[in-house]
Amino acid sequence: MAERGARGGTRLLWPALAIPGIVWLGLLLVAPFYVVLAILFGGVDPILRQPVPVWNPVYWDFTQFEYVWQHIVGQDAFFRPALLRTVVYVGVASLLCLVIAYPVAYYTARFAGRWKGALLAALIAPFWISYMMRMLAWVNLLQTDGLFNKALSLGGLLDVHVNWLGGQPETVVMGLVYGYVPYMILPLFAGLDRMPAATLEAARDLGASRWETFRRVTWPLSRQAVVASVLVTSVPMLGDYFTTDLLSGSPETSMIGNLINNSVLTPGQTGQAGAFVLLILLVSILPMVLYVRYTRTAEDTAS
């Protein structure tokens, strides 16, 4: 590996190949976050209500940031419920995702036998179905006169008219689980599939029960894959606003993503959207660092 870069004649080729992509990501992924800061710490045009960015950090004005911060921690904390809700929804949904994804991934990796390929294809299928279509499918099913209520009424025996789409937190969490669980199954499957089957069989041969083998061998060996897959699912969930918009539409279930979505296109509130963007970024830095470290160790052991 170390010798690779030293081959003569191509030494300039590799930087030349990498630079267009690096410049692209630098200009369009990294630099835009500075624009967010310049708007958040900038001003608002008093007449047009347009954001006026301030590029020089020396002249940054913290009014907009103060405003948002005060309404998170202060007396009139009308932003706080959505933030707490985001933490609860994302936490519960990630946990449920894990409870569903682990057995499915484990079964597929260990016991599916010759059906492994077909089963994996079925598990991947939701990736090729648009997220919005999957949510639309649930909007159809969960209408008051929809098939879900009809199924609950056992064909008309009972009178069930539950309004599932009118701001039920359960519906939103279910939607999040439904939307994001495929993203958890695949990294888990990859981790569990790599696990040496001989180790697990040895535990069973030495007399451990299924549960004990799981608790003392399988789970500890899969802990890294679990952490990575939980991160891959929960961090993107932090920015979700469309799931609750489609499955509830009520401010009673709005999340931090909704705060961004509501303020970003409202004249005069653009800076607030910047503050929430910064907040999500700060909260997700630690998980992202963990993810990068895990992925790199996994790559090193693979090579």
């Binding site: 369009l28 624009v35 057995p103 991947i124 939701p126 495929p182 469309f242 970003v264 998980p287």
Partner: protein
């Protein structure tokens, strides 16, 4: 206790796990199949089956996908974005993967971290920051198709980079060295040996990027200019809760069809490219997990 003997058998089949997996598959796929089914409904309802018809595809003179301009524009715009974004992302990403794999130093390893982070970064952060750039900084890029394509490429670039690098890792440097020993120039070895061996990975990442782009919502919504640049996902978001007709189901079914055609066609071609390779039947590369 004899009735519990099957349970006590340590090598019994894992019925519990089988059941969970089966129930999960039903739960994950049946709602979508129901939505597809109701796109063929003869009536306006999305819950009462009133007979099979193609009304919502082309039969209805006003509201079918074929006749309602706002619906078929969304579909063609989605496919256009898919093609444009894939055409830019894949070459850019493949070159970047080759470069990052061989170039050692602080710049490439920093870029490596950025690539990994863009995998987990909530999409809304990229979308809002690009929206600010487009609206506040004067750039040649505007809202609409150009802004959407640029945003999508930024978000998707990690896929080809990660997939192609994983493939480079399994290829190793033996083939290239052999080519150089046999008299090829280093550049020639890359072009005529390495690139040939990378074709399946490049191809798989193209399929993956295309399928992911036509499903995108957050970036394309913020960077769309007006209703003519709103793709299917935005159309669904705007109308799903406002008493839509099964035409919306028909629209998403057509998008699903495009996805399935790209993936199945892509998978068959992938198998053909890698025929004769031991590890080639593996699906991992198609899951973004390779």
């Amino acid at each position: 206790m004899s009735s519990l003997r099957w349970y006590r058998n340590p090598w019994r089949r894992p019925y519990g796990l089988m059941l969970i997996t089966f129930l999960y598959l039903v739960w994950s796929l049946v709602p979508v199949l129901v939505a597809v089914l109701f796109s063929f409904n003869d009536g306006r309802s999305r819950t009462n089956w009133q007979g099979f018809s193609m009304r919502w595809y082309y039969g209805d003179p006003l509201r079918s996908v074929w006749h309602d301009a706002s619906l078929h524009t969304a579909l063609t715009h989605t496919l256009l974005l898919g093609l444009l974004a894939t055409a830019i992302t894949v070459p850019l990403g493949v070159a970047m993967a080759l470069g990052l794999d061989r170039w050692r130093g602080r710049v490439p390893s920093g870029a490596d971290v950025v690539v990994l982070i863009s995998f987990v970064l909530p999409e809304i952060l990229i979308a809002v920051s690009l929206l600010f750039v487009v609206t506040v900084v004067s750039t040649p890029v505007g809202l609409g198709t150009s802004g959407q394509v640029i945003g999508l490429v930024t978000y998707q670039l990690a896929y080809p980079v990660v997939i192609v690098r994983a493939r480079l890792l399994t290829i190793g440097s033996d083939y290239e060295e052999a080519a150089v020993d046999l008299g090829a120039s280093p550049g020639g070895a890359v072009r005529r040996v390495l690139m040939r061996m990378l074709v399946p990975a490049i191809f798989a990442s193209a399929v993956l990027v295309f399928a992911d782009v036509i499903d995108d919502f957050v970036i394309v919504r913020y960077l769309s200019g007006d209703s003519s640049t709103e793709p299917v996902s935005v159309k669904v978001y705007n109308t799903a809760r406002a008493a839509p007709t099964p035409a919306l189901n028909a629209l998403t079914t057509l998008l699903l069809l495009a996805s399935v055609l790209a993936v199945v066609g892509g998978y068959l071609l992938y198998r053909w490219f890698t025929r004769g390779e031991k590890e080639a039947g593996r699906l991992d590369v198609f899951t973004g997990e390779a």
